[in-house]
Symmetry: C2
Subunit: 381 residues, 2 copies
């Protein structure tokens, strides 16, 4: 008998075996992966260009009887290559099943879950996961799934980072938070933060700071040196977006060996699949290919900014592979649907601070042009 056919009564009872905290959770909703062919997918910030021919050849060549064996449990060779790239040691690096896994591990390693007593205890700094809004909407989900307290602090109205004086004045910013997560450059705003600003923030925090650089390869500067200079700072990177490897789930953290070691302790024993490790290693030997793609994407982004600005879109300055735009004439949610009708997927978030905006992945030059054509068609009614 299939469990789904059990009486609803029985079904309610089995639900009681799930922790109340988990029952109350609202999970993260990933962007749509459409099944309809022919849609232009500008909704999940994937790179429009494929992995390099060398990477594809290397992965293909590894698809053989070795799939029967466990992968290297610590992604040892990949960590050595990353250490070489970043001028540190492999003890400074942990590789994850995407950087999402590592963000979840950081929450579990550094923030205490709160007491589950019904009388809500005061928020304790050591139970606090702190982040700016808007930023990566996964952060509160991870904190809530762990039972940590969240401290969401708004960015300024132009999505720039509040300075230390402002944060002090704000009161509800917590300089003792166990874990502060900063998306830099930010998503969904696309805005880059100055490294000096980030360093000042890091120095003011007494807990751990993760600088989540998922989009950094499309930016003018990066904060990686901060992870090697300040022992309480971790930098998150991913092979997904810039390196066209979303499919294979490879991300990493760089930081102090004691923090990295703590994350290693609580990860799954074989957390990174073998072909993902091989693909990432091959990527590192072919960086020129990817850097050429970054330049192409940045050029396309600049063109898209110009064209949409001409069409009376308010386009925020971007240091990422997407742009956040405030569209004219119709509400953003209406634009989302009108663009979908024109076979173009973009992303819209319901959160109040961004509900008037659309987030548009840059795509190829041809995709950007198709978007502009669709926008013109919609504006012309």
């Amino acid at each position: 008998m299939c469990a789904t056919k059990l009486s609803s009564n029985k079904s309610i009872r089995v639900g009681q075996l799930v922790r109340p905290l988990v029952r109350a959770l609202h999970p993260y909703v990933p962007g749509e992966q459409p099944k309809i062919k022919g849609l232009i997918k500008l909704n999940t910030n994937e790179n429009p260009y494929p992995p390099s021919p060398h990477v594809l050849r290397t992965v293909k060549a590894a698809v053989d009887g070795r799939l029967r064996l466990y992968p290297n449990p610590t992604a040892e060779r990949l960590r050595e290559k990353l250490a070489n790239l970043h001028h540190c040691r492999s003890e400074n690096i942990i590789v994850g099943n995407g950087s999402d896994e590592l963000l979840a591990l950081a929450v579990r390693a550094f923030a205490e879950p709160q007491s589950k007593s019904k009388i809500q205890p005061p928020k304790l700094a050591k139970a606090t996961v702190q982040y700016f809004t808007p930023s990566y909407s996964l952060y509160p989900v991870l904190a809530e799934a762990h039972g940590a307290a969240t401290n969401a602090v708004p960015l300024k109205s132009d999505f720039s980072l509040p300075g230390l004086t402002e944060l002090t004045r704000l009161r509800h910013w917590d300089f003792n938070a166990a874990l502060t997560l900063v998306t830099t450059p930010n998503a969904p705003s696309g805005r880059g933060y100055a490294i000096t600003e980030l360093e000042a923030l890091c120095l003011a925090q007494r807990g751990i700071v993760v600088l989540d650089e998922a989009y950094v390869d499309f930016a003018d500067a990066n904060a990686l040196p901060l992870a090697l200079k300040h022992p309480h700072v971790l930098v998150a990177r991913t092979f997904s977006k810039a390196y066209s490897l979303c499919f294979q789930r490879v991300g990493y953290f760089v930081g102090h060996p004691e923090l990295i070691g703590a994350l290693h302790k609580i990860r799954d024993s074989y957390n990174v699949n073998g072909l993902g490790q091989i693909a990432a290693e091959a990527t590192l030997t072919d960086l020129a290919y990817y850097r050429a793609n970054f330049r192409r994407i940045i050029a396309t982004r600049a063109g898209l900014d110009r064209e949409l600005t001409k069409l009376r879109f308010q386009v925020l300055p971007s240091q990422t592979n997407f742009i956040l735009v405030r569209p004219p004439q119709f509400p953003a949610e209406v634009w989302l649907n009108k663009l979908r009708t024109n076979k173009i997927l973009v992303r819209w978030f319901r959160a109040p601070e961004v509900r008037d905006y659309l987030r548009i992945t840059t795509g190829t030059q041809a995709e950007a042009e198709a978007l502009v054509r669709a926008v013109k068609k919609i504006l012309e009614g």
Copy 2:
């Protein structure tokens, strides 16, 4: 400056930012993945046979520009195929980054972490993760990483399952435990349990029971129907061992949609890599190939049992792709090292209940013969 070069003083301080629970953890130690060529690897229960030619062809053909895209976040097609195989619905199934990820999720979804106050509170059933010893040594690690209480109850001296009367008499078996994890057939003993015994145990438990069937394809019977019959029972399966896909990290749970739904809520958004999903889907269309391998491995296991018994090894009956043996003449740890000198890797566990035993993966017929030759050589001194 590299963080490893910071003064040890600074380093001690950053360690304080790690949760005390994590600092105190002893992580799971996976079996050795040797770098030396020419070793016969009978230590981590991998399948000696490669994935089927159809699976390898299918995976190779998928290595193209699509690697830039996110994989299906819920492994939708794979779940549909698994549902078809097991005569249930895809809502009854969650796919994980190996079944290890799902075991960790089960601990976090179903067992409450204990209060972290220094005065140890009484063990609460709803905070208890329960399992038999010896069984999969990952279970206590997962429970401790979550801050749940562990309740480890010894199997009988012949590694068989205590009956309900015995468990009741034992007192410290907890029929209210939030989560009971049962490896079946068991590792490292290799012993299979009767489905009637397992069902009686499930019916006596008021919390959730996970029947961890990582090795079930080498057994005479399986407990999958129990997951579709009893809403509080989950069955864990993996593509790693029987289906020669350790490298790609694909496991799954079958059970009631409410429990499966709870696990979905707390997993990473894209937890299963794309090529792993594709490999697992292709595997399901080629089951005859794998079933022929199971028969070969079972035949090799029977031969190995006969040969080692002749050489005065005590060989436990096995329903898995490995055997647990009590070697003659030298302590088991000495055998481990002598076999390694002869280029054969087997597994030895320090735990008191199994320290007199070696766990030997079956391997190919040729590998089993090489093992027997090495054993004879060692016995002849």
